[in-house]
């Protein structure tokens, strides 16, 4: 704006307008780029838009135009899907399994990581490497024998069995993550507590665990995303309908019926809704969790 008020010297009159033009052009370019970026995101989200729109249609056949909102949204298909999926029960099961897995993983992995970081010997380094090598083992490599182990322990088709399996498969990442975090925390606080006569577990509970809070939050969200979206372990380890998770309920509901899109899509919407809610309300932690390991 200053360039518009009368220029005082010869020099300014010659350069200022040119600079303004350049700046305006850049700002305009930025505006266009922003709009294009938003349009690109809209394009990526189109399938989800279609999912919602078509799920609100009523009828036995696909709508001619899957992009148009229905004149009057129809909730009957939602009601049917809700009942067929035993929705509240499935959500409750998933919630139970998720929370138990998160609690078990956080507790065991943070204790182990603490010992690995504060007791640096060759054997703890080896233990750490064994845990971390677990990061690359595809679940399919252990799936069949895991089924056998669960059968021998009478843990097939039980909440306990699937929680142990999830906690075990998440342990490598959790140990890796907590150890990385603890290395950035100085040991002085813990030493002061030890000098005050606090025992090992009290030091952990009162000093270390509270320090880990940001890491714990991120890890818990990681577990939620993992467990909430997984199909393979419930498919193999859980067999009774009453223990179905949400993903399994979606699979079972759709897999056994021939459904029209209007009947199919409400099931999917109900299936993804809880995690969408978690993501949108805790976005900051999710983004932080995804970007773990890439600076701050």
């Amino acid at each position: 704006m200053t360039t518009l008020t009368a220029p005082a010297t010869q020099q300014q009159t010659s350069t200022a307008p040119r600079r303004t033009v350049r700046r305006t052009r850049r700002r305009l370019g930025n505006g266009v780029a922003s709009v294009l970026l938003v349009l690109f995101a809209a394009l990526v989200l189109t399938p989800i838009y279609v999912l919602v729109v078509v799920s609100l249609h009523h009828g036995q056949s696909a709508p001619d135009n899957p992009f148009a909102f229905p004149t009057a949204p129809d909730w009957q298909n939602y009601r049917t899907a809700f009942v067929n999926m035993h929705y509240l029960r499935s959500v409750g099961n998933t919630l139970l399994i998720t929370l138990a897995t998160a609690a078990l993983t956080v507790l065991t992995a943070s204790l182990a990581a603490w010992a690995i970081v504060r007791h640096t010997r060759r054997w703890t380094r080896t233990v750490y490497q064994v845990f971390v090598s677990g990061l690359t083992i595809p679940i399919f490599v252990v799936l069949t024998p895991l089924y056998e182990v669960m059968q021998k322990l009478h843990l097939l088709d039980s909440y306990g069995g699937i929680v142990l399996a999830y906690a075990a498969t998440t342990t490598p990442f959790a140990v890796f993550f907590f150890a990385g975090f603890l290395r950035t925390v100085p040991a002085e606080l813990e030493e002061a507590a030890a000098v005050d006569g606090a025992g090992l577990l009290r030091t952990f509970a009162q000093i270390v665990f509270p320090l880990l809070k940001p890491a714990t939050a991120t890890l818990a969200i990681f577990v939620v995303m993992q467990v909430w979206n997984d199909l393979i372990l419930p498919l193999v380890l859980l067999s009774s309908d009453s223990k179905q998770t949400v993903t399994l309920a979606v699979y079972a509901t759709i897999g056994t019926h021939t459904l029209s899109p209007e009947q199919l899509l409400p099931t999917l919407v109900l299936g993804v809704l809880p995690l969408f809610a978690v993501f949108l309300s805790l976005q900051r932690y999710v983004v932080a969790g995804i970007a773990v390991g890439v600076g701050k």
Partner: protein, 291 residues
Amino acid sequence: MQIRGRSAMALIAPAALLFTAFVLYPLVRGIQLSFTDAIGPNGGAFVGLTHYVHAVSDPTVRRALTNTLAYTVVVVVVQNALALLVAFWLFRQERVRDVVRAGLLLPAMMAFVAVGYLWSYVYSPLGGPLNVVMDALGLHRFEPVWLGDPHTALWAIAAIYVWMFLGYTATIYLANYMAISPSLLEAANLDGASGWRRFRHIDWHLLAPSFTINITLSVIGSLRVFDLPFIMTQGAPEDSTQTLSLVIYNNSFANYQFAYGTTLAVGLLVLTVVVGVIQATLLRRREADLA
């Protein structure tokens, strides 16, 4: 705080027990099973390398292997190239950055089951939205039965994976961009570097940490691809969407051929380790070159 040896053992024990019982033991047991004739959880007489010999000449396994490898190469390259572009774009558009990133991440928050069924509808030859759009654009002649044509099925599925994880990968690149000290990028601007040249000579080097993470994640994820082929095609048409994980699952849990299933699982493990070592060596050499 210095933790004494015995205390350290006690602290590590619960995690170690969990990991040993449900990951390490099954891993070892799986290798052992692959040398037996176990069907379901029963049986298990030693049969030597029979299953391995069989696996090498099994046409379905061969097809699954080539599919998995081709799929991995394409998904890793396309996903990372697109994500780099998007991250570069997001980094410069501060005003819309958070909103757009949230939108692009949304597909990654959906369960594979939901994504699989949703896209089966999108690709449907009977009034599926994709063909509706192509009709509207006058491209009717180029409409294959996306999931029913052996030439397109695998790539139709690959496109969905890219769609799902584009935002995820871009978020990691973007975090790297935002961790770069602004003075470095400013210096680049003052030097008059811009566009492709700036990216090639400056950004590309500074993005090495996120490049390593993203390549590793997408390779690991692609080699074990399972859910979408399982839900959408079951390996059809003509085995064109057969993948190693799918073959393992079907042998073990559809046919109860536990021994053969674990044999293929050992194969997948070897493949993962070999690719992992090659990749780690290359990426480390690259980071060292750039440093």
